[in-house]
């Protein structure tokens, strides 16, 4: 065939380029290219399984394509090879059906073992409920040492770094304000759920991943065997900021954990907001600004202008300028449209009465909004009344 000459030279060139490219890659192999180091026995088992199956597949792959490339080399027409005409052989057909089947059974056996272990969430030492919000994680310690601790964990990388206005830090995008703290060697059971859409909680070092489905409880477990900080991200597309809701777990010794729990408990006692107190406007506005920065800016923006039409402005919004009860209800219970929840989720579960009153007062008296008067100032008590009504 007349095409075999360009074919050969192109092939040679291409293979040369490929070779150079891949030797470059080989040099770069110091990079992250495999599963993260295991931090628990379960993860180690999974890594072993992964390695074993991969080696097996590679072996089959090399075998099969050994034949194919040999054919490409030896049975070329340009070498004058004449085509045989066989096209059936029941024996080999049976062989190459049965052998893969046997291999698959061989793979299924250890896999089933690891899987059954992975699904066994019984008898945990500590149970923590994890709630996915757009776009942050809520942690509630619901059983075991630390019961009662509850906090929200949000990305702490500054916006400037993301937008390229400041150099990026070491833990860019995988750092949070409040890390999940757990003791080493204890069986931790995580209950996942979500408030708005599906998120997914993943900790690769422990071989643990579970979707957080709104309205449902699902679970996973892990038993960390190393202290240290482990990082990961939400792994189910959950809207605009899906790439910006990291998960950070800090594993500490039992002793340190005890100390941490103690400190948390003290903080809870100290910072308990008094919902019966009356606040001054400025006090509420100041507190409200913090709450707003933490909970609302992602959508409604620091300017209060939102990014319409997806996220409406609060600056100049009819509701914000109107009677306050409507807004309190909207922020408490979320906004429904045609009977379906919108991205404006119910903040009632995340914010206490004081925070709620503060943030609403803030939106009513900031940017161009100057409500003032009785409708401009929301006291925690008023929130409580509306909250209890539901």
């Amino acid at each position: 065939m007349k095409s075999s000459k360009p074919a050969r030279s192109i092939a040679t060139w291409s293979l040369a380029i490929l070779g150079i490219a891949y030797s470059g890659l080989a040099l770069a192999l110091a990079l992250e290219w495999n599963l993260q180091p295991a931090g628990s026995k379960l993860a180690a088992d999974i890594h072993w399984l992964h390695e074993a199956v991969m080696v097996l597949c590679t072996a089959i792959f090399v075998g099969v394509f050994g034949f194919m490339f040999w054919a490409c080399y030896a049975h070329r027409k340009s070498k004058g090879h004449k085509a045989a005409q066989f096209h059936e052989n029941t024996t080999v057909e049976i062989l190459w059906t049965v052998i893969p089947a046997v291999i698959l059974v061989g793979i299924a056996w250890p896999t089933t073992r690891v899987l059954v272990e992975q699904k066994d969430t019984s008898n945990p030492d500590i149970t923590i409920k994890v709630t996915g919000y757009q776009w942050k994680w809520g942690y509630d310690y619901v059983k075991g040492e630390g019961e009662g601790i509850s906090f929200i964990s949000t990305l702490s990388t500054p916006r400037d770094q993301i937008e390229g206005k400041a150099p990026k830090g070491e833990h860019y995008l995988v750092e949070v304000d409040n890390e999940l703290v757990v003791p080493m060697g204890k069986k931790i059971r995580i209950l996942t759920t979500a408030a708005d859409v599906i998120h997914s909680w993943w900790m690769p070092a422990f071989g643990a991943k579970q979707d957080a489905v709104p309205g449902f409880i699902r679970d996973l477990w892990f038993r960390p065997e190393k202290t240290g900080t482990f990082r990961s991200q939400c792994v189910e597309l959950c809207g605009k900021e899906h790439g910006f809701m990291p998960i950070v777990v800090k594993v500490v010794s039992q002793e340190e954990y005890g100390k941490w729990v103690g400190a948390q408990m003290k903080m809870i006692a100290a910072s308990a907001d008094d919902p019966n107190k009356f606040f001054a406007l400025d006090e509420l506005k100041k507190r409200g600004e913090q709450v707003y920065a933490k909970n609302c800016v992602v959508c409604h923006q620091a300017t209060g202008k939102g990014t319409p039409p997806a996220f409406p402005p609060l600056d100049g919004s009819k509701m914000v300028l109107g009677p306050k009860d409507a807004q309190i209800v909207a922020v408490l219970n979320g906004v429904m449209k045609n009977g379906a929840p919108t991205a404006m989720a119910a903040f009632g579960k995340q914010l206490n009465d004081v925070e709620m009153a503060a943030v609403i007062t803030f939106t009513r008296n900031n940017w161009g909004n100057k409500v003032g008067g009785a409708d401009g100032l929301v006291q925690p008590g008023e929130v409580k009344v509306l909250r209890d009504k539901k």
């Binding site: 095409s3 059906t97 793979i107 896999t111 489905v213 189910e236 929840p341 919108t342």
Partner: protein, 535 residues
């Protein structure tokens, strides 16, 4: 394997006496109103190429944004929209129509039929597509933009989207309608329009794979239509299909979607298998090895494909029994697929091989598709998938089976049949450049994504932690190279149409199905008005 054919039928059965040409409306109305399977096949192929460019442009945007960490070019919302539309457009706009185009062109001339069984319906199946595509692309320009929910359109995120979501839902309805009508047509054509003597077990394998694909489409597409309809009513009429507060379940959406979605991936793969099963024997100058077992393996894949869907949902929290069932069922698919791979290699074994462009793409397919199949097998094992689900490992897996699989096979098919369709030869040297550049850049984009996935990079994110930077840079450079290479493909095609050498009736020595043995090149407008005589 095609029929043994009596060879004195060559010079066109006197079609030329009928004039051979076209007798309908002229100009653009010819294409709008045509009932000719070749015209419609051509329309499908051009449409698919345009959509490939559109979806590819979005892929370029994705790779551009991912070139460096940080938000550079597109805000996260727009990025998600690109990802979603890239997936939808590539699947429903590029790959599926490409293979329906092949089906239209090839099935009648491979089985000796005068045309498709329902020629008018055929026209409709095509002309639904541009309207559906318009709806899809239009959604970018509505308030709130296109939906940024991923091609899987998972509830309840879909409930939050703006009107772009509704446009997408209706587009999916139209696309589904097109596929269902097209498939009914294909099934009927294959069952009812074969020339006397063309028994089922003499059908070229391409025809067989399409018969089975069409069956998958008729069974799966209506289920997708149901799923998006439920999304629509949850959005606007207060139903609770996917809302826990009303007793529904977001996971229900996933079950319904993947009941469609997994067969869908074989809808993409099976016609590709068919093309490769025509090309490999032709350039090996040796009949396809194990014809019957190929047919049975394809059927087995199709049947299994309906009981494995939940392997996309290992992390939603199924009971362990469910996970085990779906894992075992999924791994079973490796057996029939393996049979096919082995048969292909055995076809080449002791052949008399030459390596023209179609053959190169077919070998590229075989090599890389199998690699993608093995990563699929890794993903089918629940504990491993729990680590890899929703990471770039999955992205690497499915581009290996869909780009190096389906797209490579489509390229192979175009180069293989182009002379038959147009009567012109393409430029072999350029064709080989196209193959090698595609091959290199493809691996550069997607091989490294395995590493990214293993190291923990989630998919569908516009920005990433610093440790992932190097691989992403390599991947992006590969992507730009890949994109430019496809412009070369366009050039090759246009050049061949304009000034290609005249092609003989049978440019490929080893090709032996009806269209090569019984029809002149280019194929006349009406081919088998009277059925060919087969021995």
């Amino acid at each position: 394997m095609s029929a043994v054919v009596d060879t004195h039928g060559h010079d066109g059965h006197g079609h030329d006496a009928h004039g051979g040409g076209y007798h309908g409306a002229g100009g653009i109305m010819r294409w709008v109103t045509t009932t000719n399977h070749k015209d419609i096949g051509t329309l499908y192929l051009w449409f698919s190429f345009i959509m490939f460019m559109t979806g590819g442009a979005m892929a370029m945007a994705i790779r551009l944004e991912l070139f460096s960490p940080g938000i550079q070019f597109f805000n996260p919302d727009l990025f998600n929209q690109f990802t979603t539309m890239h997936g939808l457009i590539m699947l429903f706009g590029a790959i599926m129509p490409a293979f329906v185009g092949f089906a239209n062109w090839q099935i009648p001339i491979m089985i000796g039929a005068p045309d498709m069984a329902f020629a008018r319906l055929n026209n409709w199946s095509f002309w639904l597509l541009p309207f559906a595509a318009t709806l899809l692309v239009m959604s970018f320009f509505t308030p709130g933009g296109a939906p940024g929910v991923g091609w899987t359109l998972y509830a309840p995120l879909t409930v939050q989207m703006g009107m772009g979501m509704d446009l997408t839902i209706f587009a999916v309805h139209l696309l589904g309608m097109s596929s269902i009508l097209g498939s009914i047509n294909i099934i009927t054509t294959i069952l009812n329009m074969r020339a006397p003597g063309m028994t089922m077990m003499r059908l070229p394998l391409f025809v067989w794979t399409w018969l089975i694909t069409a069956y998958l489409l008729v069974a799966a597409m209506p289920v997708l239509a149901g799923a998006v309809t439920m999304t629509l009513t949850d959005r606007h009429f207060g139903t609770s299909f996917f809302n826990a507060a009303g007793g529904g379940d977001p996971v229900l959406y996933q079950h319904i979607f993947w009941f469609f979605g997994h067969p869908e991936v074989y809808i993409i793969a099976l016609p590709a298998f068919g093309v490769v099963s025509q090309v490999l024997p032709a350039f090996s100058r040796k009949p396809l090895f194990g014809y019957a077992s190929m047919v049975y393996a394809t059927s087995a894949i199709a049947i299994l494909s309906f009981i494995v869907w939940a392997h996309h949902m290992y992390t939603v929290g199924m009971p362990v029994q469910g996970q085990l069932f779906f894992m075992y069922a999924t791994t079973l698919i490796a057996i029939p697929t393996g049979v096919k791979v082995f048969n292909w290699v055995a076809t080449m074994w002791k052949g008399s091989l030459t390596f023209e462009t179609p053959m190169l793409f077919a070998i590229g397919f075989l090599f890389l598709f199998t690699l993608g199949g093995f990563t699929g097998l890794m993903l089918s094992l629940v504990p491993i998938d729990i680590q890899l689900h929703d990471t770039y490992y999955v992205v690497a897996h499915f581009h290996y089976v869909m780009v190096a699989g389906a797209l490579f096979a489509a390229f192979a098919g175009v180069y293989f049949w182009f002379p038959k369709w147009t009567g012109k030869m393409y430029d072999e040297t350029l064709g080989q450049w196209h193959f090698w550049l595609t091959m290199i850049f493809f691996n550069m984009i997607f091989f490294v994504q395995h590493f990214l996935g293993l190291a923990g990079m989630p998919r569908r994110i516009p920005d990433y932690p610093l440790i992932f930077e190097t691989w992403n840079k390599i991947s992006s450079i590969g992507a730009f190279g890949f994109g430019l290479t496809q412009l070369l493909f366009l050039y090759i095609i246009l050049k061949a149409i304009r000034s290609g050498e005249k092609a003989p009736q049978k440019p490929w020595e080893g090709a032996d199905s009806l269209e090569w043995t019984h029809l002149p090149t280019p194929v006349p407008y009406h081919s088998f008005e009277t059925p060919p005589v087969l021995k």
